[in-house]
């Protein structure tokens, strides 16, 4: 065991110790990332293999989609309205109030709808998934499933991830719709911006690329949050406290990942959009 003695010596060396700690952190972080990817890959592979658990999928779709409908509607409406209210002030300095709809809708379709939807769903759904699966893990329900020759990843994770991949983009699109309504109400009746200019500016400048950009992102973000939630719950250990930790970590990690992945996806998708002459990332 010369390696372990080397390790011990390194740990005692005050100069080497911080580097050892950083190295360990990096290794465990990458290992965890690899495990999440592996978990996701097996969940997807199993989702494509019989038995197809349609009922479970529908239940999860109801939980993710129908259950989150209300908070998404609420968030969407207020986002549209508040964003409009704040933007108008800036644009009024250039007499450009009529482009407020464009600004808001490009912001909503490309960024706010997918990201805020993903964050709301993370708070509601990823935490619930982590808790549910975590409880099942610590009370040996997952082991029981495995003993009964039922693949728990296929039974528990696959329907959740697939449901999220379907429902999060749906919610994101509904977010766009209600944000549009919220922005319209704020802009036209409340702030008195000319309706014709407002709508025609949106039609002129908001492109299908913008809508699709957000749509694609929301699919990936939906997959992400469900994967993190399931993974954390599935690998929970240590009783009630472990479940609590898993839930917290699921929410924190998937929220951060939503932002990071959102940036990566935006940069990536822009490469495929005909944004000539635009800022490059």
């Amino acid at each position: 065991m010369s390696s372990s003695s080397t390790l011990e010596r390194l740990n005692e060396n005050p100069v080497a110790r911080p580097f050892v700690a950083i190295g360990n952190m990096a290794i465990s972080g990458l290992t965890e990332l690899g495990l999440v990817v592996q978990f996701f890959a097996s969940a997807v592979a199993l989702a494509c293999r019989p038995p197809f658990r349609v009922t479970l999928l529908l239940n999860q779709m109801e939980f993710v989609g129908v259950g989150s409908l209300f908070i998404i509607m609420l968030t969407g409406t207020f986002t549209g309205a508040v964003f409009t209210l704040q933007t108008v002030n800036g644009l009024a300095q250039f007499n450009l109030e009529s482009v407020v709809g464009t600004t808001v809708m490009i912001g909503v379709t490309r960024e706010l709808a997918p990201v805020l939807t993903a964050l709301m769903v993370t708070g509601r759904v990823a935490s619930a998934m982590a808790t549910e699966l975590g409880t099942m893990r610590v009370t040996e329900q997952i082991d029981a499933m495995e003993v009964m020759a039922v693949n728990p990843v296929q039974y528990l994770a696959s329907p959740r991830i697939v449901a999220s991949a379907i429902m999060v983009p749906c919610l994101s699109m509904l977010f766009v719709a209600v944000a549009y309504a919220g922005a319209y109400i704020m802009a036209v009746p409340v702030l008195g911006i000319d309706e014709g200019a407002y709508i025609s500016r949106i039609q002129e400048y908001v492109a299908s690329y913008d809508v699709m950009h957000g749509f694609y992102k929301s699919i990936i973000l939906g997959v992400l949050l469900a994967t993190v939630g399931c993974y954390k719950g599935y690998n929970a250990a240590g009783g009630a406290r472990g479940v609590g930790n898993a839930t917290t970590q699921a929410v924190v990690i998937s929220s951060i990942s939503v932002f990071v992945l959102d940036y990566v996806l935006s940069a990536l998708l822009m490469k495929f959009e005909p944004t000539y002459n635009a800022v490059s990332y």
């Binding site: 372990s4 040996e140 082991d143 009964m148 020759a149």
Partner: protein, 258 residues
């Protein structure tokens, strides 16, 4: 999903054979060269204090864990080298009763018991309901199909757990700490349940326990495990005569309490 390709080797007198199994978690060795045989149709109790590695042995038997070295034979078939899908077939020979029953708390008792049937058979709804009723009858429960596990007492949950474990009519039933954390009366009823089940269903049973009293009651053979090593392996009647110091101490502590 009824293609049960049961590979049985009738001339082997043992349902399970654990041969020279070693297992470590990280740097900690948990099992050190364990050898254990489970006779067909008999009840084998693995006795040991917490953290002695008995649950790890059980998880090896059912293929949830793979040994670092050594083999595990179930009905003469080495399961350590089986591919995953064949391992699933082997698992159908097993029923397992978990320490806290591990009932799915999102499902009713009926759904819990019928879960393996719904997953692995093509029986009609009526046939499934009939089978559930029958198995619940085996564990002396009636008309509780529509209750949720949270509404049941610990002993009842364990019975439902057994009903779920035997619903596919396995040849081996594993019990993980069946009497831990139960009051004496319930302990008694669970012991009775184990005895009844092995008698009525004619199954091989493996019981993991640190409860010497129920071990003496239900066992045909007893193995005592201490720090990953089997220190004693004798028929149940001979356990009291053991000369091994740890076994003596372990039993002595229990008898003193009585």
């Amino acid at each position: 999903m009824t293609d049960t390709t049961v590979v049985s080797v009738p001339d082997s007198p043992y349902a399970i054979e654990v041969k020279n199994v070693c297992k470590s978690f990280g740097p900690n060795p948990v099992l050190k060269n364990v050898n254990l045989k489970v006779r067909r149709g008999k009840t084998r109790v693995i006795l040991g204090p917490s953290g002695s590695g008995k649950t790890v042995i059980m998880k090896h038997m059912i293929g949830l864990l793979k040994p670092d070295s050594g083999n595990i034979l179930v009905d003469g078939v080495d399961i350590t080298t089986l591919p995953h899908n064949e391992l699933l077939n082997v698992r159908r020979k097993f029923g397992m009763v978990f320490q806290q029953a591990a009932l799915f708390d999102s499902m009713t008792v009926g759904e819990n018991v019928s879960f393996p049937l719904r997953e692995h058979s093509v029986l009609s709804k009526e046939a499934i309901a009939e089978k559930v009723r029958e198995k619940l009858g085996v564990v002396d429960l009636k008309n509780i199909e529509h209750k949720y596990p949270a509404e049941l007492s610990g002993g009842m949950r364990k019975r439902v757990g057994l009903a779920r474990a035997i619903v596919l009519e396995p040849s081996i039933v594993l019990y993980d700490e069946p009497t831990t954390g139960l009051d004496p009366l319930t302990t008694d009823s669970v012991d009775k349940m184990i005895l009844d089940a092995s008698k009525r269903l004619n199954v091989t049973s493996v019981v993991i326990s640190h409860d010497v009293g129920s071990a003496l009651l239900v066992a045909d053979d007893i193995a005592v495990i201490h720090e990953g090593v089997i220190v004693e392996d004798v028929p149940a009647k001979e356990i009291r005569d053991s000369t091994h110091p740890f076994v003596r101490e372990f039993l002595h502590t229990w008898f003193r309490k009585q």
